[in-house]
Amino acid sequence: MNTHAVRVIYKYEMLRAWETLLQSFASPVLSTSLYFVVFGSAIGSRIEHIEGVSYGAFIVPGLMMLALLTQSISNASFGIFFPKFTGTIYEVMSAPVSFLEILLGYVGAAATKSLIIGLIILATAGFFVPLEIAHPVWMVGFLVLTCISFSLFGFIIGLWANNFEKLQLIPLLVITPLVFLGGSFYSVSMLPPAWQTATLFNPVVYLISGFRWSFFEVSDVSVGLSLSVVLVFLGACLLVVWWMFRTGYRLKQ
């Protein structure tokens, strides 16, 4: 294991976030706080409790997932796309590092950044609504798994994209709608039956449901199913990245 390489990649990526502190951490926290103000306070005060949880608290896991997913993808995709774009990727490609070590460096840093953002948002939410976490270990587990798996997904997008438009394409046109329609701001049970069935094809529903269960013990699907979906997604991303490195897709061709 080339631990020196993992360390320098990880450190480099974390420093990049540190040098753009406002953009990396303050910006997602501000936008999430605005969601709390608009949905939690302004609209939430007019909405009744959902499954025994106040609306303001109910949306916290969904908002955290919204930020985690978008930040994980954005951090990881940009982290690998930018060296490709500037040409500095040559150095990583010519170094004695395995795909696993590259992943540990880039994806590890992207996941860490998202995790920090998630925790900051959680702390921020505490200022707006009273929060209790029923299963803290599960909450942290879902948080970490989501950060890693979506950072991996972002890494795939960064490898695949060969221009800035493609880099933004999937996060904007696929991920954001899936998160908004995945029960971030409502319970799936509030939808008409036909839409409830359709929503079950949205993988983000399982993430948010499992994560919300760890807070309030209320969920749209069973927690076991949620965990399975996250693990399957993680495994699928790992397989795709392994294949990309093995074939040199968009890297060595």
């Binding site: 020196h4 390489a5 040409g87 490609m93 170094a95 395995s98 074939t247």
Partner: protein, 308 residues
Amino acid sequence: MQSIVSVAGLSKTYASGHHALKDVTLNIAPGEILALLGPNGAGKTTLISIICGIVNASSGSVRVGDHDIVSGYRATRSMIGLVPQELTLGAFDTVWNTLCFSRGLFGKKPDPAYLERLLKDLSLWGKKDSELMTLSGGMKRRVLIGKALSHEPSVLFLDEPTAGVDVELRKDMWSLVRRLRESGVTIILTTHYIEEAEAIADRVGVIHDGELLLVDDKLALMHKLGKRQLIVELEEGVSALPESLFPWALDLSTDGRRLTYTYDPHTTHTGISGLLQAISSAGLLLKDLKTTQSSLEEIFVNLVKGKQ
């Protein structure tokens, strides 16, 4: 010959269908400086990119230090340093940080004393805390060399190291390359500056359209393929060559004042004495005489033209 880099039957066809390398076989001895000459798009960069692990080969094999570059990539890449053609550097890193990054990437533990020495050798020590975007093109080129040397490689690839740099920096680079060779580093450089190959290389390889046309000792190449010409300037121009001069296959200039005789300087009888006597007998008066030797550039051009 014991090789530190051994390329066998290497071919590369890109997804676009472009056949960048065609069955290239090449052996590089430890401690030598090999210059790969070729026009733009000849396949030079593809060849070194494959050896360094940046591009996958379509077929063939490469061994570095007796390790295969695919199955033994950790060993081969640890031995190699690469200076790319483009000035590809992060804008906001400092010189010191980017060298530390490179050293770590290649699995070496931090060694500030070595990096300090390296930066001093490259006349960059005073700029160690400068952001890369503030450096001149020449300094960026030196930083790239520093990055490539940061992990103490035994084989260094320089992809057109002096493209677009001024004469002074070019001479500095040449002297750096010589110093590196003295310290035991094997150097492979690609260039289309013939004078560069002529000045610093031990052997020269000519690559064109994906084919390695030849690899030979630089002096032997000039000896084998170099022609010498005797140029005879006449006091008065002639409209046509006298029949008595036909055996020498002379070229007559358009103004009729200059005769060019191409000969092999390595044969016993060059035919120069006979030619001069024949010119005198033909009643032509000499104004001046001079000889020229083919440069590596002419040899290169002739080889490339011969393939077209």
